[in-house]
């Protein structure tokens, strides 16, 4: 089964130049892909299309069997709830604690307080931050914030997990630990796309690679 499918997709920001050209690929359900390419190639832009924060300027995108270019707000909202995103710049809500940040996806779903607390405790332990739940996110190190971001992305058990350079700001040992978390999600059946420069990691955990170059996609 195909989870996400791009056909002839082009994208531009506002009236600017096209930053993605003729993108066509499909993600089988349960697959794991890397997305590589130099800085400015369009990795983040492609992920933005996938997590439905952006609409393509041409072509069609199909996610979970629905045409997302239809712009039906209700449909888009329910699809977004099936996607977990780890942002390149973390996007912590600064006035909330680590645990409150992680709880956000569950709050949006209207889950009860006791269940939320239970889930948060479990997931914080999974990323190895069980002693930092009440921490102010600004006081956490880059690697710890990255793990909070991952916990927040996976807490709602998404069908599709997208991570934008999650190992960009961490040392090799931690990078490997983070990749291990994504591997676990993948083994649980989650479809995963990880944008990364890290050749070593790709060799350590081999998966198909999408190569982006100046907005053009090559599969290898």
């Amino acid at each position: 089964m195909v989870l996400v499918r791009f056909d002839n997709v082009g994208m531009r920001y506002g009236l600017g130049p096209e930053v993605l050209h003729d993108i066509a690929f499909s993600l089988p359900s349960g697959s794991f892909h890397y997305l590589t390419g130099p800085s400015g190639a369009g990795k983040t832009s492609l992920l933005r299309l996938m997590f439905l924060a952006q609409q393509p300027s041409r072509g069609t995108i199909n996610a979970f069997g629905k045409d997302v270019t239809s712009k039906d707000r209700k449909v888009l909202q329910s699809l977004r709830r099936r996607i977990g995103v780890v942002f390149q710049e973390f996007r912590m809500v600064s006035h909330l604690s680590a645990a409150e940040n992680v709880a956000l996806p569950l709050r949006i779903r209207g889950m009860s307080e006791p269940s939320i607390r239970e889930h948060v405790r479990e997931i914080m332990a999974w990323v190895g931050l069980e002693h930092h739940t009440e921490a102010d996110t600004a006081t956490l190190s880059g690697g710890q914030q990255q793990r909070v971001a991952i916990a927040r992305a996976v807490i709602s058990n998404p069908d599709l997990l997208l991570a934008d350079e999650p190992t960009g700001n961490v040392d090799d040992a931690l990078a490997e630990r983070l990749l291990y978390l994504f591997e676990q999600m993948h083994k649980n059946g989650t479809t995963v796309v990880v944008a990364t420069h890290n050749r070593r990691l790709i060799e350590r955990y081999p998966h198909p690679v999408f190569q982006l170059d100046d907005g053009w996609l090559k599969k290898s």
Binding site: L79, R80, V93, I108
Partner: protein, 310 residues
């Protein structure tokens, strides 16, 4: 609205979880949100002053109308010693009976000199000074049907028989006064609307500013799949609280002002001052309206912003 939608709608507007929402706690402690009740309070107070001024004018106009309706005055100047050479009293009686027999007149009554003196007191001083002053005699005339034609015809008939007698048509200056009153009343209502609109614009601006300030968090919530009502719920409790408190402040200060005026102005405050009877319903409706309108403005503002992107 079908019952099936009213209940969730009510539940939405009544929800209370302020501290558990990601933006709610930040929004409700912001300076703009903290002063919002006071701004709303001042505007509700101004609106109530305006609406009660307007109602006072309305009451006064109604009283003028009742007092002056369909009434004209026939004035006999003091210099006229006897009408048509007749002795004073006799000529007067003949004027009265002439008026009473006229087809257009339903009632004609002389204003007693005592009442006349009372009316003139503010200008002329007490009765003691008026003694011996040549005062005009006045006859109040109620007409069966008052229009310019009827009055002109009566005037013609009157001057034919009693050339020195003057016929004073109240309607001219009454209409002027009514027009001035209506204009003032209109200004009061417009000022009330402006005050309420200002309060609502401030609510809308406050929400807009807060949405811009928290744009990244809102964007984050949207990417997570939050729907419009979830994001609206972030701002709802603070705005609901601010407009409820503000409306109450405005109402209470207005009621205090009214009570103060009643106490201080006891005895000589003009009748018809302030709201009367059913007008009190309006006084309570204004803050209630503002409270509900602020919630509507909140929802419209947020949904308008959110709908800019799919």
């Amino acid at each position: 609205m079908p019952k099936g939608r009213l209940v969730p709608l009510l539940r939405f507007f009544l929800r209370t979880e302020v501290d558990t929402t990601p933006l709610g706690s930040a929004f409700s402690s912001e300076r703009a949100t903290v002063i919002l009740p006071w701004v709303i309070g001042v505007m509700v107070y101004l609106a109530l002053l305006m609406v009660s001024a307007s109602m006072s004018i309305d009451n006064t106009i109604a009283r003028w109308r009742a007092d002056l309706a369909d009434r004209i005055t026939v004035v006999v100047p003091p210099a006229v010693e006897g009408l048509g050479g007749m002795p004073l009293t006799e000529s007067h009686n003949s004027l009265l009976s002439f008026l009473r027999s006229d087809v257009s007149v339903s009632r004609a009554e002389e204003i007693p000199s005592a009442k006349l003196q009372l009316l003139l007191e503010p200008w002329l001083g007490t009765a003691a000074h008026v003694e011996g002053l040549p005062l005009p005699r006045m006859i109040e005339v109620d007409m069966r049907k008052v229009d310019s034609v009827a009055i002109a015809q009566l005037r013609t008939r009157l001057t034919e028989n009693f050339p020195q007698v003057l016929l004073d048509d109240h309607r001219f200056w009454r209409n002027r006064l009514l027009a001035v009153g209506r204009i003032l009343q209109g200004i009061g209502l417009v000022a009330m609307i402006v005050a309420l609109a200002t309060a609502l614009v401030i609510v809308a601006l406050g929400v807009q500013i807060a949405m811009s300030k928290h744009a990244t968090t809102i964007q984050l919530l949207r990417v997570m799949g939050a729907d419009d009502s979830y994001i609206t719920a972030q701002f709802l409790p603070a705005v609901r609280r601010a407009s409820a408190i503000g409306s109450l402040i405005g109402l209470l200060v207005f009621l205090s002002t009214y009570a103060l005026l009643r106490i201080v102005g006891d005895g000589f405050a003009p009748q018809g001052m302030g709201p009367q009877d059913w007008q009190w319903a309006m006084v309570f409706f204004v803050p209630l309206f503002l409270f509900l309108a602020a919630l509507a403005v909140l929802v419209i503002t947020i949904w308008g912003r959110l709908r800019e992107a799919p």
